[in-house]
Symmetry: C2
Subunit: 203 residues, 2 copies
DNA sequence: CCTTGAGCTGAACAAGTGTTTAGTGTATTG
DNA sequence: CAATACACTAAACACTTGTTCAGCTCAAGG
């Protein structure tokens, strides 16, 4: 039990969990209250409104995720995830949903991880472990997209891998093809790339 | 105007659009009816329930997407998208939302595009244009993830590229780093890959 | 012509929603 | 000790939701 927490905190935690699981629209105040072991009225009393509760949750999740990413010097999503699969996944899912709803906090999160991703690349280039890119910012966005997409993979996609539902196993299995892609790409020559470059220079 | 369509079709089209834009839970029958220029009661009359409407929409979108992907011999998502950005995007978004809700139709869609993606890779390997993979299925899933993720990119992510909202420009800009990744990867050597392989053989 | 049936509607209904209100108990404080 | 403030609740409220119902319109068929 987490009953030694203040009621406000219990409500917030329950809300984060339900928002992450069901989405903001589908999750309702009474269910959140029940999960926190309090009345629905208390939720409103403490947070003003469901929207107010959301704002607090947004900021809390943002803070937790950023603290985490700061803790791991060189952010390694896979390792970070494996350390606390359920908790981390819940928070990432929450943020992904916030991004879908285009919540203001999501922008702060995105700005931050894109910047971090770009910096990792910059360091990698400086250290000689990574190739330069024609568009570092776009590359960072792509990397963020891949990381988040992998972590929040829809069940239907996980099922095509044989896993009944997403879990550490799924992620582990995806890790190798991903690293293979990142080490030598997929195409055997640069014809497709040159074709695109030619096409772009024409228009 | 699309008033020459039957009312049922107009309702279905409006529903697909609103489900894609707002999600199933947030979109409400009255709004769909209004968008189709009919009464809310008619929606229920024709489709039995909101859930019934969803089923019809699911199957419709699935059919449209599969027909499209069949039309383009070698499916090229980028080109396919550029041909009819708004329409295609709407349907992909719809499917992505269906995947998030884990709708049965989404599974059919996923099975299909993963299989297609795997076949493209197989053909590429046979033709010598693509490298072999240690896990073709997982690679296919990764590729689908990247494609869908890019297409349904959240606004917050698009904004870090300077674009106010997602559109053809965003996609065009991402195309090059993506192709660069697919032609020569990102890492300059295979140390990270070997490290992972070693780690996996140990456990 | 009239009957039938299908497309269609406004109004009502029942359930679920976020929120308000009025009030309880329980500490803390002057 | 009295008073104030705070955490908390049950019940009610207002509104939205999906859905039902009774009835309208109107073209097709006997």
């Amino acid at each position: 039990m987490s009953s030694d927490l203040t009621a406000q905190a219990r409500i917030r935690n329950a809300a984060v969990e339900l928002f992450a699981r069901d989405g903001f629209a589908k999750a309702n105040v009474r269910a959140i209250a029940a999960a926190a072991g309090v009345s629905a009225a208390l939720v409103i009393h403490h947070f003003g409104s469901k929207e107010g509760l959301r704002t607090v949750c947004d900021e809390h999740v943002l803070e937790v995720l950023l603290r985490r990413s700061r803790a791991a010097g060189q952010p390694d999503l896979l390792r970070e995830y494996l350390a606390d699969p359920d908790g981390y996944l819940m928070h990432v899912r929450y943020m992904t949903r916030a991004m879908a709803d285009d919540a203001p906090t999501a922008q702060a999160f995105v700005d931050r991880i894109v910047a971090e991703s770009e910096e990792i690349h910059r360091n990698g280039v400086a250290a000689g472990t990574m190739r330069e890119s024609s568009d570092p910012r776009a590359l960072a966005v792509l990397n963020v997209l891949i990381s988040l997409g992998t972590l929040t993979m829809p069940p239907a996609l996980a099922r095509t891998l044989g896993d009944e539902k997403f879990g550490p196993d799924t992620l582990r299995r995806l890790a190798k093809p991903t690293l293979e892609l990142y080490t030598h790409g997929l195409y055997t020559d640069d014809a497709p790339l040159r074709a695109l470059e030619k096409e772009m220079s024409e228009s």
